[in-house]
Amino acid sequence: MSAANLVTSVNAGLAVALESDERVVMYGQDIGRNGGVFQATAGLQERFGERRVFDVPLAESGIVGTAIGMAVAGLRPVVEMQFSGFVYPAFNQIVSHVARLRNRTRGSMSLPMVIRMPYGGAVRALEHHSESMEAIFAHVPGLKVVIPSTPHDAKGLLLAAVRDPDPVIFMEPKRLYHSPQQEIPEGDYELPLGQARVVQEGDAVTVIGYGGQMRDIRAAAAHLKRQDIAIEVIDLRTIYPFDQETVVESVRKTGRLLVVHEGPRSFGVGAEIVSFATEEAFMYLDAPPRRLTGTDTIIPLPASEHFYFMQPEHIVDAVLELIET
């Protein structure tokens, strides 16, 4: 075991991926000598050489598009989008090819590739640097969308993503990059994609979240515990295909559902979770489910961004309201 925060755990996971499989190559903007703008790839080029870890021209579609070719030829590319707000130029490659090549060729080709990107806000970053648009990827058939919220999960899920036979969009909550350290296994370990994690058991309300807002949910849970209210906290970890079983079981148990995330409300991740839970646990619901999410507005520039995100106080308040109904 060794201590790591989320960004060093990503770094450690990438190192293990490179070490354990010669087919793994990594590229993106500024990931080489510079080590990535968040230092997620720090030291990897030094250690594994320019052949395995390299910088390429400033062109996201080119990055994803060439990675498709590399994966078909037998490599396992792990590419970085510098921020999730800059993945859009690659959207055509992702929707039209990454998500489809296996289906289109009836499985005779597959794309073992990972597209990594820091996502989300609350770090007072520039315009376009705080996006949380995971819902649009989750809506594209053929992709897997993974978002860790702890150092331990980040490394294990990343290694599973790299070894998955199918393409994975791996979104890293940048506001948790420098979160408190956690003891994580030193070497190689994988955590299964598609499985949520019950962070805290409880029977009052099911609170579902992932990524950037998990810290706030945990803070709210701790606060509520001091008031003897035990909420069940679920970290989705995989947004698509999400762990329907864990979600529905919990909602059937608690009868109350709150979904928390930072992306826009409408047509967002919360809509799917609430909708699915309602369909499958309707008879168990004691109160209308609730979404506590970003509004359908553009994440404000740094001075006002704090209005955009849900705070532990908001979560506590919503839980208490849910219990009252």
């Binding site: 490659q93 039209s96 009836r106």
Partner: protein, 359 residues
């Protein structure tokens, strides 16, 4: 308009003399290759014509013909190795024939089955049909660079149309190729139109070949209706890129003599005279002249090849049409290596709907 491009076989079937021709002496097609090229081209033409008639019969929905453009992909694919990556767009039927891809798969695709793209990778090194314009070119560059990483001497060739050069992905692929000096050939089938938009309004550069300079790549313009010129230019480019030289853009100047697809009426946007002029430059007729003048094939043999190709196209289509049967499960089977529970549930639900409603 096509004075500049490399030409090794004139429209009248004669072989021009001159420096350009001499320079390509090492890349001349031999008799067997010329005869093979002819077979591939007439196979493609026959399949194309049959597909058009199938469309009229209501047996095929939309279809995009390659008629008149066969020399481009036949000549270039023949100049490459079987294990070089072939990244197609959707107008490389001739190249598919040259690669040995079964016509049945091609028909299967146009009949509306994904299975038509299920071509044995290790045998054909072929990417599936790519319809989102230009998006296939970065794949070609990635394939090429991966082969270098893996230490093979395979290259990749990526096809695109003249219209496709306007897309951002063309640019990004070219730029990556240049920076990586990737072993890749970008082959632009300049057939003068992108649906209705003429080449002159697609881009303001004089030629498409000259765009290579913006990326530190080589650019070559060839007469795309001259299979021997296409072969020579590609063979030379292959030698260069395989040995670490500059990646090459080849512009094969040709013409889309038919409609864009069966859904399109070209009379809305172009003159019949223009089409007629280009029909006189037909790549198959031109090659026939050479084969005859060289005594490589008699008129009867030339015609027999055509008849054989036509029969083959009919037989293959009938066979495929009779055997193909859509199934509800297909959409689920190959989405992921393993079907996740969420999708298993959707499949069950869909099956249940089918059981309850018969639909």
């Amino acid at each position: 308009m096509i004075a500049g491009p490399l030409q090794l076989l004139a429209p009248d079937g004669t072989v021009p003399a001159g420096e350009a021709v001499d320079a390509y002496a090492d890349y001349r097609m031999d008799a067997a290759q010329l005869l093979a090229a002819y077979r591939f081209m007439v196979s493609a033409r026959a399949a194309d014509e049959w597909a058009f008639s199938l469309h009229r019969q209501g047996r095929l929905h939309t279809y995009a013909p390659s008629t008149g453009q066969e020399a481009n992909s036949v000549g270039s694919i023949m100049a490459l190795r079987q294990d070089d990556w072939f990244v197609q767009s959707y107008r490389e039927l001739g190249g598919l024939m040259a690669r040995g891809v079964p016509l049945s798969n091609y028909f299967l695709y146009w009949l509306g089955y994904e299975a038509g793209n299920d071509n044995e990778v290790d045998e054909f090194h072929l990417m599936p049909v790519a319809i989102p314009i230009a998006s296939q070119l970065p794949h070609a560059v990635g394939l090429a660079q991966a082969e270098r990483y893996l230490g093979t001497d395979r290259l990749a060739i990526g096809f695109i149309g003249d219209g496709g050069t306007s897309e951002g992905d063309f640019h990004e692929a070219m730029n990556f190729a240049g920076v990586w000096k990737a072993p890749v050939i970008i082959f632009v089938q300049n057939n003068q139109y992108a649906i209705s938009l003429p080449r002159s309004r697609q881009t303001a550069s004089n030629t498409i070949a000259e765009k290579a300079g913006a990326y530190g790549m080589r650019g070559v313009q060839v007469d795309g209706n001259d299979v021997t010129a296409v072969f020579a230019a590609t063979a030379e480019a292959a030698e260069i890129v395989r040995s670490g030289g500059l990646p090459t853009l080849i512009e094969g100047v040709t013409y889309r003599v038919a409609a864009h697809t069966t859904s399109d009426d070209p009379n809305r946007y172009r003159e019949i005279d223009e089409v007629a002029a280009w029909k006189n430059r037909d790549p198959i007729v031109r090659l026939q002249k050479l084969l005859r003048s060289r005594g490589l094939a008699s008129e009867e043999e030339l015609q027999a090849s055509i008849e054989e190709a036509r029969q083959h196209a009919r037989d293959e289509f009938d066979r495929v049409e009779a055997s193909a049967a859509p199934a509800l499960e297909e959409g689920f089977q190959h989405l992921y290596a393993e079907l996740p529970p969420l999708l298993q549930a959707q499949l069950s639900e869909r099956r249940r709907l089918q059981e309850r409603t018969g639909k």
